[in-house]
Amino acid sequence: MNAPLLAVNGLVKRFGATTAADDVTFVVEPGEVVGLLGANGAGKTTVIRMLLGLLRPDAGDARILGEAPSLRSRRALGYVPQDLGLYTELTVAENVHFTAQAYGCEPAALSGALGEVADRLVGRLPLGLQRRVAFVCALQHSPRALVLDEPTSGVDPLARARLWNTVREQADSGVGVLVTTHYIQEARQCDRLLLMSDGRVVGRGREQDIVGDTTAVVVHTPQWESAFRALDQRDVPVTVAGRDVRVIGVSADAVTTMLDEAGITADVVDVPATIGERMTVLARQPARSR
């Protein structure tokens, strides 16, 4: 049987008293795009660093095509870090050549918009183009797996769609992709999701599986300001959405009671929570004792 492209099995990593990764297990198979979600500090970066061989696990293991992470096995992997990892004082062409030499492959041909800026310094380019350069650098050695850390942060919807065209084309050709994101539109581009909290994987599947039975409450009233203030004073997680007030992790009945007590009449409806709201509920739970 073929080994999975990427596999982590019972990964544990402790930093002092903190367990940054706690029995993390998942695989990424050829052709699938897996989204790794979680608040800052949930353990996403720790897991990726162990997968890249930059950090040694305290228990469990990480495998690339069945091998431990090493310079050799890393060749099967393309990586785009959040800060892109480009040399801003080199031109686009120089960045591409340099990375190609490091991997011992032919430098990718630069076409279209990237061809036009081949001789420009990377640091002088708009962020959207810089991201495309980083993708070229990560893909030119034809990796079997891709690891992308917040791949489209800071770009507009069309530029984001174009970058995802590239990611999905790679998946179509059999590349397995692991992507971290804080961004719901990106999560929806994935075939399946993993949600991490407090070092552990606490949710797996599609968006609805991740949200589970967590609900939010929408409060619709002509005076959103008074409803907002009344709920804010009760120290429940409350935000706005247009001219509605949105409350997380509290039942509609409880919200209605709080509003009644403040003398406010409103339409109060339970709706499915967003992934971000699910994370907020998780973050408000007391840290588990170890």
Binding site: D156, L158, H182, D232, G276
Partner: protein
């Protein structure tokens, strides 16, 4: 008074960074300006707070002392503590020591920074630093609050907390304007303007902008018009001006889809 900009253009060197933009930012409302890198968001915001001069048009904003501004760099001083950052800004605005203490305590409490008051800004997490930047922009209780990408790189949990702070300010009657690259965040605003190359591509209440988007978007495995299709998970989305000739059923679109359609139409110079 009405707050906002009318037919505003700002030229930076040879670039028309803001091109004939009209945007009302009324008190008690959160207005979102959306766009990618280079769309003109920062220049529009800087013009509103008087940091860059307009080349045409009018800007209606309160006097400088009644404006709060958080630059995209968060505006915090890394070598000062949370309290020191707030004190410094407060004194710059000439707040009395008593007023400053009250404001500082209220804001630190609201932002959940009480336990970090004595921590250097450089030692704060990204989310906490953003919240400190927000408090600094709010310390003098401004009538207009202008925030440049307060949530870029901030995790979803901190974003929910940030929106609670924004909403508190709006509920108190402040005009809040923020730039963002997150469409799900823009959907929370009362009014959204999508900028591209300095021009307004879409503007309105989020629901209205989505409802007014022309044509239909369908999900399909085999798009016929590459210029008007994009990947969405394991299928494609494709825009048609009237209906899909293949009878594909339209999908429900969100602000992200609508912005993609508007950008594709603008780029292809189309009504087709």
């Amino acid at each position: 008074m009405s707050v906002g900009v009318t037919n505003l253009s700002v030229r930076l060197g040879s670039v028309l960074a803001v091109d004939d933009v009209t945007l009302a930012t009324p008190p008690g409302q959160v207005t979102a300006v959306v766009g990618g890198d280079g769309a003109g968001k920062t220049t529009l915001l800087r013009a509103m707070v008087g940091r860059v001069a307009p080349s045409a048009g009018t800007i209606d904003v309160p006097e400088p002392r009644a404006i709060g501004y958080q630059p995209s760099s968060s505006g915090t001083w890394p070598d000062l503590t949370v309290d020191e950052n707030l004190d410094f800004v407060g004194r710059m605005y000439g707040l009395s020591e008593r007023r400053l203490r009250t404001r500082r305590d209220t804001l630190v409490e609201r932002a959940g920074l009480v336990d970090a008051r004595d921590r250097l800004a450089s030692r704060l997490s990204g989310g906490m630093r953003t919240k400190l930047g927000f408090c600094m922009a709010m310390v003098h209780d401004p009538e207009l609050l202008v925030l440049d990408e307060p949530s870029t790189g901030v995790d979803p949990v901190s974003r929910v907390e940030l929106w609670r702070l924004l909403a508190e300010s709006a509920a108190d009657g402040t005009a809040v304007v923020l730039a963002t690259t997150y469409m799900d965040e823009a959907e929370r605003a009362s009014f959204v303007m999508v900028l591209e190359r300095g021009r307004s591509l879409l503007a309105g209440a989020p629901d209205d902008v989505v409802a007014a988007s022309p044509g239909v978007v369908v999900a399909t495995g085999h798009p016929q018009r590459p210029a008007f299709s994009w990947r969405h998970a394991d299928a494609f989305r494709e825009w048609w001006p009237l209906a899909s000739p293949n009878g594909d059923a339209p999908v429900a679109v969100d602000l992200e889809d609508v912005a993609i359609v508007a950008a594709l139409r603008a780029q292809n110079g189309v009504e087709s």
